[in-house]
Amino acid sequence: MNKLLKNSIWILIAALGAAAVGGIALNRGESINTLWFVTAALCVYAIAYRFYAAWIAATVLAVDETRATPAERLDNGRDFVPTNKWIVFGHHFAAIAGPGPLVGPTLAAQFGYLPGTLWILFGAVLGGCVQDMVTLFLSTRRDAKSLGQMARDELGALGGTAALIGTFAIMIILIAVLGLVVVNAMKHSPWATATVSATIPIAMIVGLYMRSFRPGQVLEASALGVILLLLAVVGGGWIDHNPTLRTWFDHEGLTLAWWVMAYGFAAAILPVWLLLAPRDYLSTYVKLGTITLLAVAIIMLQPTVKMPALTQFIDGTGPIFGGKLFPFVFITIACGAISGFHALIASGTTPKLLSNERDIRMIGYGGMLLESFVAIMAMMAATVLDPGVFFAINSPAGVVGKEAIDAVAKISSWGFPVTVDQMQLLANQMGEATLFARTGGAPSLAVGMASIFGSAFGESMLALWYHFAIMFEAIFILTTLDAGTRVGRFMLQDMLGNIWPKMAETSWMPSVVLTSALVVAGWGYFLYIGVIDPNGGVNILWPLFGIANQMLAAIALCVATGILIKSDKLKYAWVTGLPLTWLVTITSAAAWEKIASDNIRIGFFSAANDLADKLAAGALPPEKAAVTPQLIFNLHLDGWLTLFFVVLLWLIVFDMLRVCSRYLAGKPVLPLAESPHTQSRLVEDWVRD
């Protein structure tokens, strides 16, 4: 009877999920409630977690709860510590959830709500969650080794090097694109700029508090920090209304970009306790709090989605970025569906805390499900806006025109009516001078969040909510930016250490300054080009980031597939092999279009040639002609970089296939690097109780 009841509940969930997904997919022309999205997501996640993830854990990976984890065997009370599973889940989720799942879905909403939503749901349960869980498992079985180390041990030197280069490249591009998102959110917005700048001294106060004033009192210091942050949001409004003060914070994009670079450099060389660590505390609290608040508001309010299921832009003519639905929706939404970067957290960091292998499903698979849900909420926040407003905020001036009147005419001509008055009213409500061409996704997400929060918790404070949302995005974008710069610095020091060992000393100041400057110069270059690009830069950088991130995911899945086959689990190799095949397909297809397309809005080289022709013919206005040589050089660089990524990807795929076919043919391959079985004492203790 009990079993029958359980089965009926699962059948009910499956039916409800199918109805909700079907409802979303087949709905045409009528407005659809966001509750459908929440229902579809929760049902899909529940079914996938209960059945697919459980099957993978039990049958494919054969997790063994009697086996001691590295946290137990190598317990040193500091980094290797067996930890309660909910605590590990919290750490893991806080580490994997960054700004990616918020920005990607917002940009991909130009295709309509349907493609992005389906990819976020099914990409996550079949791809991203599987990648995270399998990587966590493999690293747990290998003394919490990093992805690069596992690639080297199991596949060979090529795999290891590819993982290292891939990580470094993705870091540089990720930081550049995130920097661009922040710059676009602060451009000519004294309120946003003042609030975001205030987060730096606030972080330092918190850092000093927990280092010197009350050492180790993390929660006290954080509570103080969060209060100061909220005051900074209000204080930014006060500065904005003060005619003298506001000019101090009213800047061009380029000026702000230089400031962001200076900040990144300072954060990389300053001691962690002063800036990086306290800033991370604050951003984690604000992030978790805001995401929870957004979920509560959406469930309370159940706003209606105004974006159509599909827009005409699936043909590749979209204003936010060029390119057809296939493959670009899969490149644009990386985090939230599948993100290679997670493999770096799931290997190396999280396994050091894991106390029992049976929790791998909940932490690896479950953590990514939650991130996928964050992406679904970002998609909802973007699609509850009037489509006309959404496109007016996100379309770069280079596509729709610099003047408001031209922009609204163009956007209305696509069938998404919007007026100058409507945009001006919205900008006034949000406490901004204008909302036109605020590309990068952050401002439109903030408008979406502000309208949701405003309707749920009080309409009168729209401007406060808007700037709170901007602060929320900026604070953890800047955390990723400074943490990433620092990691890049360590990696570079490590690489240069192979040539001159002294460079690898992380406390030798000349090396620290030189490598930090090189890393900042790397992402600073892309940020600079993104800011001077009249088409907004996001349309170039985001696909490049997506390709790099999916390439890293493909490397992780290659390592996983190779290990499954070497463990005599050929018949289950499809579990990682299928998402790998899909990733290789979309990454190669997107890279091919970015390289070879003769559409100047997609192909890097054709865009470069087009600009060169126009420059030679003198057809460009003087201010554009001045920056055109730089843009041409950058387009060539981006094209070669894309080619490099895709060649690297194929090299590692072939290397994995070589290792697998040698193994299957009975020829010698590198042995499995799994550490030997040790009985878990934690379980014995538990059994004895």
């Binding site: 317990d75 009370g77 500091r78 980094d79 510590v81 930890t83 309660n84 909910w86 605590i87 919290g90 750490h91 580490a95 994997i96 959830a97 960054g98 700004p99 990616g100 990580t167 990720l174 995130l178 927990m210 280092r211 050492p215 180790g216 009192q217 993390v218 929660l219 954080s222 962690v272 306790w273 990086l276 660590a277 991370d280 505390y281 990386a334 985090c335 993100s339 970067f341 997670h342 770096l344 957290i345 190396g348 960091t349 955390t479 990723t480 943490a483 990433g484 620092r486 990691v487 360590f490 980031f545 991130n549």
Partner: protein, 59 residues
């Protein structure tokens, strides 16, 4: 209800690292009884530096 609140507070302290020193003292008492443990200040410095060595945040 009170015990639930206490449990929640324990989770918050654990997640944030607020109780890291207490856990260190406990670990120390269990495994290294011979030498004296670090002071709270010294421990916190080391803990924070270690926590930030490597990739800790994602996109």
């Amino acid at each position: 209800m009170l015990s639930k609140l206490k449990g929640f507070w324990r989770v918050v302290r654990r997640l944030s690292g607020d109780d890291a020193y207490e856990r260190y003292l406990q670990h120390h008492a269990e495994h290294h009884q011979t030498d004296t443990p670090m002071s709270k200040e010294a421990f916190f410095k080391q803990w924070q530096d270690e926590k930030w060595n490597g990739i800790k945040r994602c996109c």
